[in-house]
Amino acid sequence: MSCLHTVNRSPDSKLLESCLRVINADDAILFIEDGVYHCASKISLQAIVETVKVYGLREDMLARATLSTALDRVEPVDTSRFVELCSEHDKVVSWF
């Protein structure tokens, strides 16, 4: 049972922290909307267990000029891949 977590607020909120407290090692995180600012944050990404796959929504990264500064750990995905990720995982938990 693996789970896709979406996170849509910036590192200034405690949203990612909350998510990480209850995430499982084979889950994945997709940063969307203001959440994509995490994609360029070493502190944010280091807090995520290595087994957890990390994605960022490409459209939101483009809008916010964070696609080029995103760290290697993050795989940018577009909305159609977001849909695929939802089917590949057993459920989706939205953090907003």
């Binding site: 049972m1 789970c3 909350s18 407290r21 209850v22 995430i23 499982n24 953090w95």
Partner: protein, 129 residues
């Protein structure tokens, strides 16, 4: 629309609600409660978890008359009447806010983060707000 209820799919799903917002400041706590009550009315398998600022909803002695609202704490006390028995408060969230068990509404089970993770993992659907 009622025809939907008569298809072959299971009539029961396991739904975990995570209520993460303080009461009154915004309506998320109420939305979460409304969804949970509806799930109970339609006889789903409900887990109700209070996490982060959500634990503020559980303080005894709330009185929202002065802000012309309904007192959320009173509604939460009736959860069992609606058949919602699995009501949990996250210990770490309480501790961080300096809230003691004695200050809480009755009927709350204190659990840790790992238990919350399991309630998410075992659910068919998670509502988190």
């Amino acid at each position: 629309m009622t025809e939907n209820a008569n298809t072959a799919k299971p009539a029961k799903s396991r739904i975990t609600f995570i209520s993460r917002s303080a009461p009154y400041g915004n309506n998320r706590a109420n939305l979460c409660l409304d969804m949970a009550l509806a799930s109970a009315v339609f006889e789903q398998d409900v887990n109700y978890v209070f996490l982060d600022d959500g634990v503020y909803q559980l303080l005894k002695g709330q009185d929202a008359a002065a802000i012309q609202s309904k007192t959320l704490g009173n509604a939460l006390e009736t959860l069992a009447l609606y058949g919602i028995e699995n009501v949990y408060a996250d210990q770490q969230s309480l501790k961080k806010r300096g809230i003691n068990r004695a200050e809480l509404l009755p009927g709350m089970q204190l659990i840790d983060s790992d238990a919350v993770a399991k309630l998410i993992e075992s659910a068919d659907t998670v509502f988190n707000l």
